[in-house]
Symmetry: C2
Subunit: 335 residues, 2 copies
């Protein structure tokens, strides 16, 4: 039923190898022969079997993307990463096997050891991520999006959250703010080992205290009505704060209505700075001054590096941590 390279060869009156060389372009072929073969391919509507090719060449042209859905989490950002990863991969002729097993490590072992993919992208990497050992033992290269505690020997791409925090604090300090509140991701993100939470928070606190600012930090929430409740609790607890630093998508999305309820105007009564994906902001919140979390840049750079490591290992350099520098977009929510 399925058309194979043998059918094409017979139809064109040539050897299977000749058809293969027409396909790959790895050998000069006479004009006449090429024409006949191309015609046969069209007539029979032939497409090479990817599995057979993979078996022979030991290349699947597939990248594995490993991610986890967390019950209690706000996930739209995940989609931004996926889009950047898939479209970059496709540019280079690679498809994406998306693996979402709750058990990250066994799934990673299963997929890599059965040679289903040529390389691996780990998303949502935590401080002591169990998948890292499996990745180090895999025969395929891998890249991480998200900085773990021990990144040795691995390519890592992440936003520079510490520097992001410093940029934000410097911005507020420069505008004259002396008392601020920082809203971090929810507690369960910290407990799970989501290092971006404390990397941002700790750097923000340190910088602010270094300036002599009064500063407090608070966990945000990920679900309503707790999101609103926690924001109100922060505002109640810090009546003299003049600026809010919000590092939590659910909170920043809820902030406009919470502030309105309290008759607090931005930036007149309160300055607000946040950190989120540009697209998230476009679709959702009011335009706050914010650091762009740049999932598109991270996804694109991670895949590019992974492909370099797959295709030109010697040119890929030593595995390294790549922290991309934060960009603050001023949108008028601070003064």
């Amino acid at each position: 039923m399925t058309v194979t390279i043998g059918d094409v060869a017979r139809h064109a009156g040539v050897a299977r190898s000749t058809v293969s060389y027409v396909l790959s372009g790895n050998r000069p072929i006479s004009e006449e022969t090429r024409r006949r073969i191309e015609e046969a391919i069209r007539d029979l509507n032939f497409t090479p079997n990817a599995g057979a090719r993979a078996l022979k060449t030991a290349q699947t042209k597939v990248l594995g993307v490993f991610l986890q859905f967390h019950e209690d989490e706000f996930a739209p950002a995940m989609l931004q990463y996926l889009l950047a990863i898939t479209s970059t991969a496709r540019t280079y002729g690679y498809d994406i096997l998306m693996v979402t097993d709750p058990s990250g490590e066994p799934a990673l072992r299963r997929v890599t050891s059965s040679t289903m993919v040529d390389g691996v992208v780990l998303l949502d990497v935590t401080h002591s991520d169990a998948r890292l050992n499996a990745l180090r033992e895999a025969k395929q290269p891998g890249v991480l999006i998200g900085l773990p505690g021990s990144p040795e020997g691995l390519d890592v791409f992440d936003l520079d959250f510490a520097e992001s925090a410093r940029v934000v604090i410097d911005h507020l300090w420069g505008l004259g703010h002396r008392e601020i509140a920082v809203i971090s991701p929810p507690l369960h993100v910290f407990e799970r080992g989501g290092a971006y939470g404390w990397r941002f928070r700790d750097a923000a606190m340190e910088r602010a205290l270094g300036y002599g600012m009064r500063v407090s930090s608070h966990y945000g929430e990920s679900q309503q009505p707790a999101v609103n409740r926690s924001l109100n609790a922060v505002l109640d607890a810090r009546p003299d704060a003049t600026a809010l630093v919000v590092h939590n998508d659910a909170s920043i999305a809820a902030l406009p209505s919470v502030l309105r309820d309290r008759a607090v105007s931005v930036p007149e009564d309160m300055s607000v700075v946040s950190l989120y994906a540009r697209d998230f902001a476009r679709q959702f919140t009011l335009p706050y001054t914010a650091i762009d979390s740049a999932p598109d840049v991270l996804g694109q750079r991670a895949v590019t590096q992974l492909l370099r490591r797959i295709q030109n290992p010697q040119q890929a350099g030593s595995p390294a941590v790549h922290l991309i520098p934060p960009g603050l977009t001023v949108r008028g929510s601070t003064r």
Copy 2:
């Protein structure tokens, strides 16, 4: 470097076929032989090569999921579908190849004709979706999530949007509402052929007019600040409306703050009914009375049917359109 079934056989002192039968369980094996082979597998850390197995068995154990990211669209719902699809597939031992090419049809042909997958799930299906022809010509079965104009010969799963609209209108009519406004998905969704938009709207209008209600419909927007602006325009245009039917995620997410700005209380001054995914509601909006769009149910049922068609074609029945009945969850935003 890579361990093959031949290495295991040599190590255990048996034939490759015997190792294979231990793996598959397709033949009785003596206790002693099985023990030796299992030990060799463990010692050598052997995992069968998925590609070789696929080539021989003509089964990849991979499903293709085809989706498109639309520049201007609010996409979190997509993630709900993906989660349901991947986890259902994994339950049955299948992995997911996620394809996001903007050119849906060629991508579908490429993946199916090269035999990369055993079956296909199409997401975000439009009224006259170019991918349907490619799917009908594919050797693999496929299912759609989203009802197209011509679903003949294909398994389709979708929410019953027309019935959803009738349930919503009946609910409002029963509470005594006589003047309402319906907010649909953005115009570009209609232009692209997103049939769920007009299926819901047209049924709502028909039912409401049938009751003699005053009713108008409006396109929502997908990006701020247009979302807020359009909501305000609707409220300005319909000062006597007592209920809002909102079929648009971006609009319902923005509604709380818009209504607060206008000092409109729900449900005292205005009743609100919507249609969205339960998880979306949990994380985002205030709890509105709504039809659950049930991406989890749709994804799970679609994959289950697809696998039936792959594994037991004779038991899968004729391809059919499955519209799941809407469930209205009353949350106190209407009266």
